[in-house]
Symmetry: C2
Subunit: 87 residues, 2 copies
């Protein structure tokens, strides 16, 4: 693959991954999870795991790295949702 | 690429793209955009555009299709943010 394309992929990975982090920070800080849907979070988490497998199959570093970080972010949101939701 | 990997990519695309739609629907329905950050939305939007270019370079249908849908979703959120934010 051309270096230009790898750079485009890397910038894409940084932008979409970074734009997800404020949500994680805000949820951790405010412990407010009312507007987060557990089925949606779980769906997203499984989706990101599959993207990671796909990234390995394509040997695409941008896909692999961004999805590892997003798995951690999404995993934290699932945890917050379960931990902070009032019974 | 093996059909199995293409299927994994397709399922990944459906899950992560679909998990984004409730946010769009909720924002449209409630017109509540306080918790959405415009710089973050713009960052995400640019990131998704770059992923689309990357997907074309890789000739990956899951990446291309999911990012076209996500560009529409993210574009709508940017529009809602601009349209609904009280001056």
């Amino acid at each position: 693959m051309s270096p230009t394309i790898e750079i485009i992929g890397a910038v894409a990975a940084v932008l979409t991954t970074a734009s997800f982090l404020p949500q994680v920070y805000q949820t951790w800080k405010t412990k407010s999870t009312e507007s987060l849907s557990l089925p949606m979070l779980v769906m997203f988490f499984i989706g990101v795991c599959l993207w990671l497998i796909y990234g390995f199959a394509l040997k695409s570093m941008p896909i692999i790295i961004s999805n590892i970080i997003t798995i951690i972010s999404a995993g934290l949101l699932v945890y917050f949702k379960l931990a902070y939701t009032k019974k």
